[in-house]
Structures are given as structure tokens and as C-alpha cells.
Amino acid sequence: MYGVWEGLSQSIHACTLPRFKKTSGIMGAVRNKSAQSTAPLLTATPSRALVDQPIEIGIQHLPPDKPFTVRSRLHSEDGELWEAFSHYRSDQKGTVILSRDQSLGGSYSGLEPMGLFWSLQPVGVEGLRLRKKYVETPFTVEVSVLSDHVRSSDSPVGCHVGQGLEEGAVLAAVNVERWYMAPGVRRVEVREQGLVGTLFLPAGPGPFPAVLDMWGMGGGLSEYRAALLASHGFVTLALAYCGHEELPGPLHTVNVGEQYFETAMGQLDRHPQVCTGRVGVLGLCFGGYLALRIAMEMPNISPRCVVGISGPGGLGINMTRDQTNDFLKENQKLFRFDEQGNVIFRGITMPSNVPPNYKLKVESLRCPLQLIAAEDDQCCAAIECIDEIEERLGAVGKSGLLTRIQYPGAGHLIEPPYTPSVRVSLFHTYPKKLMALWGGELQPHSVAQEDAWNRTLGFLDHHLRTD
């Protein structure tokens, strides 16, 4: 586990200019006062924390009233470099404190104590998205302070790819670990009754409330949000439903039906460490659609509450259990492309494009629902979907069940807070390489992530934990 940061430490050595000369240690010589000074002291507390915990970063013993750059660097599990930087000025006491001082520019500006984490961008490679695959190890972020205000060189317009910082002198550096799993959380692979998923259990005998956690049509099995939820005391099942080699059928279609989700909910509800009847559902994008479908159209299962993020109320495509389909091929007329050739998916979820019989039976909602949407969502017409859902619930007197939250300037991928976001990333390599436009501007999107996570935890806590 420590190999990652050891490598980082060594890379600091390689690039640091030896600016300080040592005095020779001659025994018995009169002490030479014009010796080297010590480097500034950079602290990050706590140095090991969950990804959703803010930390305090400060620097002391700097020369007063001088310009400095604070930089963060992270290597993804694929070895790609992500970087952010920000300009500050030390005060009269020679300190910089990120929770107190304004950034004068860089990857972010203004008072942003966690800016070094959410403004990380990939260096030199396009189309990346930062997602932790192995949740039992942390991301290690190297935070450093450099003299002067240094910048990344010119980045291509319209994209946030940095080309790497010129090396100002690195004055000090610390490593910070960002974890998705709290100590004591257990990870269990689930491959029973046809399910493909990973279960996360908080420490202790329980019983606990539970959450079914689902992502979107990118497929596969992403565990990190489920691990984080378990770190907050929920038994959480991260469930794969498409694009996973252990699921039946072709990778690029949804080949499981309602029975699959009923089985998953049933397993959670009957788990010996779960409080029966206290199971919620959380989904993003198509996972949000599935969450709604579970709440509205599957009479055999009753979630106690549902959270849908950036999710549609229906799709302009056929998704019944009896038919497999290739939704990309069938619905090309509903896609648009921006000037860079990135695909904009939102047309397929625009309510006006969705045949009525493909829309969810909103009126059948039986439990509290929190819907979160971004106003610059280019992948899903989430706002328009919420509008329609709100109207239809109102018509049957069920407005009280709905909490709606929307965020200006945010894009589709509303993820746990203080994690990097991107406006565009690689979505598919089959049948050809396709980049999706998610939307969102960095700073408002990060505000949305922080608030949405707090609201989601609060909503789940309120409905699943208390009476």
C-alpha cells in the first residue's frame, strides 16, 4: 500500500533543485551562523481521510507577503497523472491557510479549502475520468507548495487538459490519502441467484439500514460510492446490470429484467444484518431510471425511499425484459454532436421524445423520492424529466413524496464530493470510440457534488434510520 507514495517521494527528489548548500561538519569548528534555513512547513490534517471529508491544509514559515503556488498531484490506478494548482500570497506571519485565504487564480479561484481535490484535471491525455476501481486502497494526493506563481502551459480551448506545470522550486510536500472505505467496513463479492454485485457492510453486528446502489449505462461494476455509503453506516449493494462479463448476453445491452432487481432488493432486505423494511435505492442516470422503476412498477418490492441522480423518467428506446436491443444503433436520430464530435445523449430522455408507454407509471410511486438534477446535464434531460414527474405526482396528490433539487452550472456526473469532474470523457469504444459530453462547469459542478452528497446522506438517514 505504501509503494505508491514512496514512488511519489522519489519523484520529488528527482525534480527538486538543490538550492541549499550544506556547511561542512568540521568537528570543533566555531558554529557558522550563515547556514541553510529549513524549508517551510506544509501540513494537511487529517492526512488520511474519507473522500468526502474536508481537510485543513496550511503552510507556515514562508517568507511574508510573497507569491506561492499550491499544487496537487495524483496518479490514477492506470498511472495517469492528474494535477491542479492555485496561486496564493503568504500573509505577514508567513502563512497560507486554504480555509482562510483566497486563491488568486489557477485551477480554481476564491475561497476553496478543497479546491486542490475537486479541480484536479488529467495532464496531457484526453477523455479521462477518475474512478477508483480498487476501493480497499486509497488515492494518494501529493500536495506541494512552490515558490512564485507558476502556471500550466496553454491548454487547448474547450477542454481542461493541463500540459504539466513548469517547475517552480518545490519548497515542501506532503502526501494525503483519500479513502472510499472507512476502517472496519467489509467488502463481500455477491454472485448468488444470478446477481453480480459487491456488498459493503459497516463494522459491528448491526442491524443496519441498506441501500441498493446503481450506476448508468456505461456498465460494469463501480464500487466506490457503495463503499462510501457503508462508511456512513448503510449496508450497501453495488449492483451491476449491464456491461459486465459475468452477466448473461452481449456486453453492450441490458439483458436482465425486473426479476433481477427484485432478487437484489430481496437479498438486501433479508440479510441478517439489515433492518427488514429499511432498504432504499440510489441510482445515477440509467440507475436512476431503474430506481424509479423499482419504486413505481415492481409491486413485489417496496423500497422505503429512493434517490435518483441525473436520471430519466423514461427512455425513447425499448427496454423491456423480453427484448435485447442496441440502443445506440436504434436511436441515432435522437443524438446530437458538438463541434468536437462529442455525443450529446440528452435527446433520448427528453419527455417529448419518449413514447408514453415507455414512460414510468409515476402515479404508482409509494415512497419518498429525492430527485437531483443538473441544469447543464448534456447526457440526460433530467430537469425536464423532473418537471414531468412533479406534474404527474401533483395530479394525484402525491407532491409530498417528492423532493427536487437542481444545480445551476452542474453537469450529468454528480459524484461524491471533493472528487474531480470532467466535462467530456470516453464513453464507449464499441462499435467505435465515442466521447460523451456530460456538461457542467468545474466550480459550480463541485458545489453541486458537495451539496448533493450531504442532501443524499441526510435523506437516506432520515428515511431509513429514524422512525
Binding site: 507514495w5 517521494s9 512547513l41
Partner: protein
């Protein structure tokens, strides 16, 4: 794992939740423990449990009553009893004692600093004193407390005859440094150095008085002579990431004897500042370190025993001698000195020594260099927080190869307060004298 008793509770009301913030931290960092979703005004016991590297269980517990919202916040609420009472946010750590039925005479010391201490905290219904059974807990949380911050590098040193472990903070440096020395128990203890490096100091945990360094325990053996400690100091001074003018000495117990002797009499060791914990300046000044140790041995007849037959060694150096050849001349120390004294130290006469040192410095005119922190109710082993306190423990006499039980002294709550306060003051003292006293303009 099928806890049938908990299933009976499943239908009934809400699920209590205990959280520890931050769930991962350094051993000397505070945490906040919150329990939510209890019934209002519910009596609960918080129970902490950890297993030492020797597989012994250590535990602590506190009795609480939830507020009107069914919440307990250990940082704000009062413990009504248990292994600690009162408003004690960290009591579940520092008041730990060996679990009932443990072997006697244990002391909690982490040898492997690469891994964290793992502690589980349980919530039980009612005010319990024993019979804790994890299966029946209402809730549980786990916390990891580390001795090394991420990025700190640990290197075993075997150089110029010096044995020890070096800890270097992450980053380019240059850093100030600390030569870190424990006591006559000998061996190699790393956790304080690991913590110092986690706070920005290069730190060398020095091994001496172990079977490796003592060999045949001969005074002629260069490894136990003054040259050994001088060589260690030079290693730090000349380390490429150390700012060579900013090296300090830190010693506990016999380490204090080494630190004071070297600081005053060595032409090689010229520290920027010195920290002495639970020690004394009384030593035959013309002797090598191993000679000093042997001299103490001549007073072994002054050993006392308490009602349990635990060994009290504080009288071996009393009364404080008036002969200048028998104590370090503090009037000649040239750098700031911080003395940490436990007033209930049963092992060394730290309080009497500190008074005498102050008198010497007053007479010599360098009293302004001295700061003494004296803690009522604290014993000999003033360690970094929040290590559990023990009033006595097993001790191996190296040369006789005999095990005794030594009385260290201290009352747990006051001793733990001393550990917390002195550590903060030590870090501040080191930072002040090692980071501040220079021109900070970069070249």
C-alpha cells in the same frame, strides 16, 4: 455472523449509529465520537477495545446518557463513570487498561510503526462494567491511529557503528532534525521518532543498551562510549535533507542523562535545543555513558519496594550531590532546554533534579534558557498521547537477565493530561527553536 438477538431488534425502531471523525488519524490527533439514533435519555456504555502486538487485549469504557435527540457526543458530554469520568474526548484511548484476566505487568508499546493501531468502539445498552460481548452491541465503529503520516520514510541505519532507525518527512526539505533517545530499558523504540517525522522533523531513533550495541558491555567497547552518540549526531547533521545547524536532542529517562552530558561536554554535539523528559543531570561527569550506568548500579542498595514488591529506583540518585564531579554543569549549557517532570515519578528523581538544575543555571546566569514543565500526578513514562498509562510494568534487567516489576508512578488521568500537554509543548518548543531562528528568505 447470524446474530439472532439483533434480528429481534430489527423491527423495533431506529438503528443507532456510531461515528468516529476522523476514522483514520495519527495517534496524537484528537477524534470526535458521536452516537446517534438512541432513545432520548438512554443510558449507554461506550467500550473501546484494541489488541496489542503481543495479542493482549486493552480496553476502556465510559458511561453516558443520551440527550433529548438520542445523541451522545463524547467531545461534549460527560462520562458518568467507567475507566474515566468527566468531559474527556479522548478517554476511550488513554484510559485503556489490560482486559480482565490478562497477564500482569503489561505495557502498551507499538513496535511496528508501519501499521496503525486498530481500535473498535462499541455502544452497549445500559451502564455496564464487564461482560462486554460484541455480538450484543447496539453499534460499532473502527478507527485506525497511525504513528507515521503518509509519505514519511523509514530507513534502518547501520552506519559508522551507529544502529537505529531514521524517519524522514515527505518533501524535499531541508528539515530540522531530532536525535531521539529512550531509556535504560534499551532496545530500539521507534514510535516517537515516527511521530516527530510526521510533524516535520527528521528523527533518528537511536538504539543503545541493547544486546547488539552492548556486546560484552565493556567500557572499552566503542559502541557504548561517547563517540557512539557523537557519531549518531553527525549522521543527522550531515544527512542531505537535514538543515545541519538545526539539530536537537530529545531524551527520556536515561536518554536525558545522555542528552545533558553530550550537550554540555561534547565538542562535537552542539544542539540547537534540548528536551529532557523524566531524567536527571546527576552522573559522574568524567565517565563514558556506560560508565555512568555502572555508577548508578553501585547505588542499588538504595532500591525501595512498595507494598506489592514493585521496584522503586528514584532514590538511587538521591540526595542530589553537591560535588560538581557528580552532576552535569548546567551553567555551561548554551542552548534552550525544556525539562518535563512527572511529580509522581517513582523511577527517577526528576523533580529534585529539575530544581537543582534551575539553581545551577540561576547561579551561572543562563536561567533564561530553561523551561520546566512539572506535572502533578504524572509518573515516569511521559509518552506521546494518547498512549495508555501504566503505573508499573515488567522490566528486564539486561545484565542480570532478571525480570522485575518496576513502579513508574502516576495516576492515570493526571498522567494522561501530562502526556497530552507536554507533547504539544515539546512540538511547539522544537518548532520554535528549529524552524524559527533563521532568515527565511529563499535564495
Amino acid at each position: 455472523m447470524h446474530a439472532m438477538s439483533t434480528m429481534a431488534m430489527a423491527g423495533k425502531g431506529s438503528c443507532p449509529l456510531i461515528t468516529i471523525q476522523p476514522s483514520r488519524g495519527l495517534i496524537d490527533e484528537k477524534f470526535q465520537i458521536t452516537v446517534k439514533n438512541l432513545l432520548p435519555g438512554q443510558a449507554v456504555t461506550l467500550h473501546s477495545l484494541t489488541q496489542s502486538e503481543d495479542s493482549d487485549f486493552w480496553e476502556a469504557f465510559g458511561h453516558y446518557v443520551s440527550d433529548g435527540k438520542g445523541t451522545v457526543k463524547v467531545a461534549e458530554d460527560v462520562s458518568l463513570g467507567g475507566s474515566y469520568d468527566g468531559l474527556e474526548p479522548m478517554g476511550l484511548l488513554w484510559s485503556m487498561k489490560p482486559a480482565p484476566g490478562s497477564r500482569p505487568g503489561l505495557r502498551f508499546r507499538k513496535k511496528d510503526v508501519n501499521t496503525p493501531l486498530v481500535m473498535r468502539i462499541y455502544v452497549y445498552k445500559g451502564h455496564m462494567r464487564d461482560g462486554f460481548n460484541a455480538e450484543s452491541a447496539l453499534a460499532c465503529a473502527v478507527t485506525e491511529r497511525s504513528y507515521m503520516a503518509p509519505g514519511v520514510r523509514r530507513t534502518e541505519i547501520s552506519q559508522d557503528g551507529v544502529l537505529g532507525t531514521l524517519f524522514v518527512p515527505p518533501g524535499p526539505g531541508p528539515f530540522p532534525a531530532v536525535l531521539d533517545m529512550w531509556g535504560g530499558g534499551g532496545g530500539l523504540v521507534e514510535y516517537r521518532s515516527a511521530l516527530l517525522a510526521s510533524h516535520g522533523f527528521v528523527s533518528l531513533a537511536l538504539e543503545y543498551f541493547s544486546s547488539r550495541t552492548m556486546g560484552n558491555a565493556s567500557e572499552k567497547n566503542p559502541l557504548t562510549g561517547n563517540e557512539y552518540f557523537e557519531a549518531a549526531f553527525i549522521i543527522l547533521k550531515e544527512h542531505p535533507q537535514v538543515a545541519s545547524e538545526w539539530v536537537a536532542l530529545l531524551g527520556l529517562s536515561f536518554g536525558t542523562s545522555v542528552a545533558l552530558g553530550m550537550a554540555v561536554y561534547s565538542s562535537v554535539i552542539q544542539p540547537s535545543c534540548v528536551v529532557c523528559i523524566s531524567g536527571s543531570h546527576v552522573q559522574p561527569v568524567k565517565e563514558s555513558i556506560s560508565g555512568v550506568f555502572a555508577e548508578f548500579g553501585k547505588n542499588v542498595h538504595k532500591t525501595r519496594y512498595d507494598e506489592n514488591n514493585y521496584v522503586i529506583w528514584r532514590d538511587l540518585l538521591l540526595p542530589i550531590p553537591t560535588d560538581p564531579n557528580k552532576k552535569v554543569d548546567l551553567g555551561r549549557i548554551k542552548c534552550p532546554l525544556l525539562l518535563i517532570v512527572g511529580e509522581d515519578d517513582q523511577n527517577w528523581p526528576a523533580a529534585e533534579s529539575a530544581e537543582d538544575m534551575e539553581r545551577m543555571m540561576e547561579t551561572a546566569g543562563n536561567r533564561h534558557l530553561l523551561t520546566t514543565l512539572s506535572y502533578p500526578g504524572a509518573g515516569h513514562l511521559i509518552e506521546p498521547p494518547y498512549s495508555p498509562h501504566v503505573r508499573f510494568s515488567n522490566f528486564m534487567l539486561l545484565q542480570e537477565k532478571k525480570k522485575v516489576v518496576v513502579l513508574w508512578g502516576g495516576e492515570t488521568k493526571l498522567h494522561s493530561y501530562a502526556q497530552e500537554d507536554s507533547w504539544q509543548k515539546i512540538l511547539a518548543f522544537l518548532e520554535q527553536h528549529l524552524y524559527h531562528n533563521h532568515d527565511t528568505t529563499p535564495q
